[in-house]
């Protein structure tokens, strides 16, 4: 009749469906929070979870209840000093002691936010949603890099194809010696004694004959015991051990070029940041080590750290070619194209000093594009100016150049379409 059932292995994560429904319901707040988080984070630590705050009032499920007022009588335990008829001052603006519902603590009126942690996967999901990434690319970005198995020592078990014969035989030999040596020595002694006794045997000496017979029998048994030591025992077997290590092996450098002239406002910079993040995420799947180089420019270009890249304010005109020149210098001095996979990402509002755009095109096509694996340009403004026109000439001639206009996050992805297609093999 009575039963004990072990349910520990059954039905974990039953609440997943409910959690998803909860997240879906609060999509807007979560998207906002993710957006804020992306803007506040460095490119390198995008892939983390995030705490999401949701105002409590958005989560309440209303029911009919009593409000303040009317007549109530509430019983409390732990009377210290009161007698009947005592007056107690009414607490200011709140329900008096205990609220009469028996248990008020967990439904208290506190206005704290409801805070919960979005997991890394969920966070990236929202981020990708925002960028309108196609599914195939999502899985490509979300999945771990491929694995390659590496040899790592030996182990006691494994599959026959990993059997290491020499090691196994060496083990067997050691075992045979260890097990067989002592009895063998004893055997030699006994054989010697037997030979001695046989030599000294007088014919007709029945006692000595019996002793010899007994010793011979012992020798026989001992020999049999030694022979029973197996040549190869399962405990001798040694197998090659293999561990899995992630595949990405080579190194890459990613150049982020951004226009920080007066016309680039915060919104445009944030858009540019998403563009850089996407390229960075792509690269992390393919390369073990990635260096980031940030080049910002107005009329002059300079290399800066990430913080200054995104947040420092500059004003003034725009000479785009200055950044390209600096990029080429940095490549020459620090990143030998034969060792490094070089990627370039440029973001600008398309505003450029008009004599300069032609130089940009020439510089790109002659100096930079031959050195880099891929160069992507995003214009974060609508109107097409001379820089756009000049760059348009490049697209036909260079397969490793891509450009796109993006005024919202979902338009960024197409600029990388070729990149993902090429590297993603079966991409849609």
């Amino acid at each position: 009749m009575q039963q004990i059932i072990d349910r520990r292995l059954a039905g974990k994560n039953k609440s997943i469906g409910n959690r998803e429904r909860f997240l879906r319901r609060h999509k807007e707040q979560i998207r906002e929070a993710v957006k804020r988080a992306i803007d506040g984070r460095g490119i390198r630590d995008v892939e983390r979870g995030e705490d999401i705050h949701i105002p409590k009032k958005d989560l309440t499920e209303p029911v009919f209840g009593h409000g303040q007022g009317g007549v109530r009588e509430v019983v409390h335990p732990g009377n210290q000093e009161y007698v009947r008829g005592d007056k107690i001052e009414r607490p200011k603006g709140g329900s008096g002691g205990g609220s009469g519902k028996g248990q008020a603590s967990d439904q208290g009126e506190s206005e704290d936010d409801f805070v919960f942690a979005l997991s890394k996967e969920e966070f990236m999901q929202v981020f990708f949603d925002d960028l309108a990434l196609p599914n195939l690319v999502r899985t490509q970005l979300a999945e771990m890099p491929e694995w390659k198995s590496h040899r790592a020592g030996y182990s006691n078990d494994g599959t026959p194809n990993n059997l290491h014969v020499v090691r196994s035989m060496r083990g067997a030999l050691g075992r045979r010696i260890a097990l067989g040596n002592a009895p063998r020595r004893e055997l030699h002694e006994m054989e010697a004694r037997l030979a001695e006794m046989q030599a000294a045997l007088q014919p007709g000496d029945a006692v000595a004959e019996a002793a010899i017979k007994e010793l011979a029998e012992e020798v026989r048994l001992l020999r049999a015991r030694i022979e029973r030591i197996p040549f190869l025992d399962p405990i001798d077997l040694r197998f090659r051990n293999r561990v899995k290590v992630p595949v990405p092996t080579s190194k890459a450098v990613m150049f982020c070029l951004m226009d920080v002239s007066g016309s680039m406002d915060e919104a445009r910079k944030e858009l540019s940041k998403r563009f850089f993040i996407l390229l960075y995420l792509f690269l992390t799947r393919h390369y073990e080590k990635i260096e980031l180089v940030f080049i910002r420019h107005h009329t002059q270009a300079q290399e800066v750290d990430e913080e200054n890249f995104f947040h420092a304010r500059e004003t003034g005109g725009t000479v785009v070619s200055s950044a390209l020149v600096l990029m080429e210098e940095i490549i020459k001095s620090r990143y030998n194209p034969s060792e490094w996979n070089i990627y370039g990402a440029q973001a600008s509002d398309g505003d450029n000093w008009h004599h300069d755009s032609g130089r940009c095109r020439v510089w790109l096509s002659e100096k930079i594009l031959p050195l880099v694996r891929y160069f992507a340009y995003v214009q974060v403004a609508e109107e097409e100016q001379n820089l756009w026109d000049e760059y348009m000439h490049l697209t036909a001639a260079h397969k490793n150049f891509a450009m796109r206009k993006a005024v919202e996050a979902s338009q960024i992805y197409p600029v990388f379409r070729d990149l993902f297609k090429k590297e993603g093999a079966k991409a849609a």
Binding site: Q2, Q3, N18, F64, G65, G69, V75, G78, R84, Q103
Partner: protein
């Protein structure tokens, strides 16, 4: 089989005293749980505890959180609010703000008790005694549970509900179903029959009747709404003369399920599901003190008896007693941890006190409880468990001694007075009043606003009017306006709520126009 349930007059004697203690390792194993369970069951039988068959399930902390967040049930339909519950439970647990309950027990047949794998052996013994014998016998014995819930079919019904809601989501879209469930949940406290006994149906019946029900319901609704205004000139007078429904109805969800004009069949079925689940939990909300007190009393009694009989070691005793002491702690008012009465503490104290009154009554007890003073305690306790709910249990059995022990006092809060007034304390003049006040405090009728279906405007704009009957002039909370939006969504036309005081005057109105 046993012939039950005739309460024993006295506990039966121990058959054989054990040669040695039960093993007292800290880690449990299935064999050990089995051994302890056997002993606990034998002990419970000596006290004549009548239970459903037991099914003990070992689960992980994570599964415990799952169960927690779907109102303790092993299956339930999906809804975001359970997700919210899960997230906050998980967060608190991970930060160490709360331990999980040691046990969850389900009023089903067989009665399922969850044992968490993290518990030590002593704690598992405590949980088995508490849940599998305490709560279980309460579920089987108490009249509210016998009358309102059907332990045999609840799990099947929830499985059905889960599948039905999932099918609706597929067909009508997640958001539509979710919004509709939100609205039903807002009224779930008003979706129970308080005075009429629900019929018991097996799942198979429930399913086979569903189709008929859908057709029948729709026909009835059509009948109701077919009455076109025959004579327009009478319109002004007619609604005054005759209300629909004839009598006010307290079960709002039932009324909506049967009469809302625009609901589709699947929506009516969902209203019904929410209503059924609310009905299932209705007895639990009315017997917190009795139920928890009963389970606590019995784990205390059973484990102590086992100790006296030589089954338990001192170590095991000390371990479960530590946890028992925490559970029955009642912080006094003004204490940092005070948040009203602890049902475990009050209930445990009351059952223990009843036993005391039976076994060693004082003069005072004889005067207050002539019926039970000096009687055998087992039948008295059994009677008290079976035939009461919190409200009447306290009204009947709270003794002056207990009021003194707890130092109870009543505070009267009258809006019209500047200050609170201490209306009664634990003295001769106050016992009765304190007891009555505490009993009322556990009356669901006064805890939750009394709201009924008052009228439907059949001839005109089809609006639904609800009426709130104020209790002691207590007004409705402002969230009522939000709830009315949900009512409007269910009803499909304009809805009004009139809040009326003792004299029958309407003091406040909430109105929501027809949803577009």
């Amino acid at each position: 089989m046993k012939t039950k349930p005739l309460a024993l007059e006295h506990p039966l004697p121990l058959a054989v005293r054990p040669a040695e203690h039960l093993p007292a390792t800290s880690d449990w194993s299935f064999e050990l749980i089995e051994t302890y369970h056997r002993t606990i069951r034998a002990t419970a039988e000596r006290f004549g505890l009548d239970t459903y068959p037991n099914q003990l399930e070992i689960i992980t902390a994570e599964q415990m959180m799952d169960a927690y967040s779907s109102s303790g049930m092993p299956v339930n339909y999906r809804h975001w609010s359970y997700g919210k519950e899960f997230i906050s439970t998980e967060k608190n647990y991970k930060r160490g703000h709360m331990g999980l309950a040691y046990e969850i027990v389900i009023n089903s047949n067989p009665c399922i008790s969850y044992l968490m794998e993290e518990n030590t052996l002593a704690m598992q013994a405590l949980v088995i005694a508490h849940a599998a014998y305490g709560h279980n016998s309460f579920f089987k014995g108490n009249y509210l549970f016998r009358m309102w819930t059907d332990a045999a079919s609840i799990i099947d019904y929830l499985v059905y509900a889960k599948n039905y809601v999932a099918a609706c989501e597929d067909k009508h879209g997640l958001e539509t179903v979710e919004a509709f469930l939100d609205s039903c949940h807002a009224l779930s406290n008003h979706g129970v029959d308080r005075y009429r006994r629900p019929s018991r149906k097996s799942l198979a019946q429930e399913l086979s009747e569903r189709i008929d029900r859908e057709e029948h319901a729709q026909r009835q609704v059509n009948d109701l709404w077919r009455t076109l205004p025959r004579a327009l000139h009478k319109e002004g007078a007619a609604p005054e003369a005759k209300r629909f429904p004839d009598e006010p109805q307290e079960n709002l969800l039932y009324f909506i399920e049967k009469n809302a004009p625009l609901l589709e069949p699947w929506q009516r079925e969902i209203v019904r599901i929410v209503r059924k689940v609310a009905q299932y939990f209705y007895p639990q909300r009315q017997t917190q003190v009795m139920n928890e007190g009963w389970a606590t009393f019995w784990h205390h009694k059973l484990l102590n008896t086992m100790y006296d009989d030589g089954f338990l070691t001192d170590g095991v005793m000390i371990e479960w007693l530590t946890s028992h002491t925490n559970v029955v702690y009642q912080p006094p008012v003004g204490h940092r941890g005070y948040s009203g009465f602890n049902p475990y503490a009050l209930g445990f104290a009351m059952y223990t006190d009843i036993q005391r009154i039976c076994e060693a009554p004082t003069e005072e007890d004889r005067a207050w409880f002539p019926d039970i003073a000096g009687k055998p305690w087992l039948p008295v306790l059994d009677h008290a468990m079976r035939n009461f709910k919190d409200e009447s249990f306290i009204g009947q059995y709270l003794s002056p001694k207990l009021m003194r022990d707890f130092r109870l006092f009543a505070i009267s809060d009258d809006e019209k007075q500047a200050d609170y007034e201490v209306s009664a304390i634990h003295d001769d003049a106050g016992y009765k009043r304190v007891r009555e006040a505490l009993s009322r405090q556990y009356d669901l009728g006064s805890r939750e606003p009394n709201i009924q279906v008052w009228n439907v405007n059949l001839r005109g704009d089809r609006s639904l009017t609800l009426r709130h009957f104020q209790h002691n002039d207590r007004p409705l909370h402002d969230s009522g306006q939000e709830v009315m939006k949900h009512v409007a969504r269910l009803w499909g036309f304009g809805v009004h709520l009139e809040s009326s005081n003792a004299k029958g005057d309407v003091t406040k109105r909430f109105s929501v126009p027809a949803p577009s």
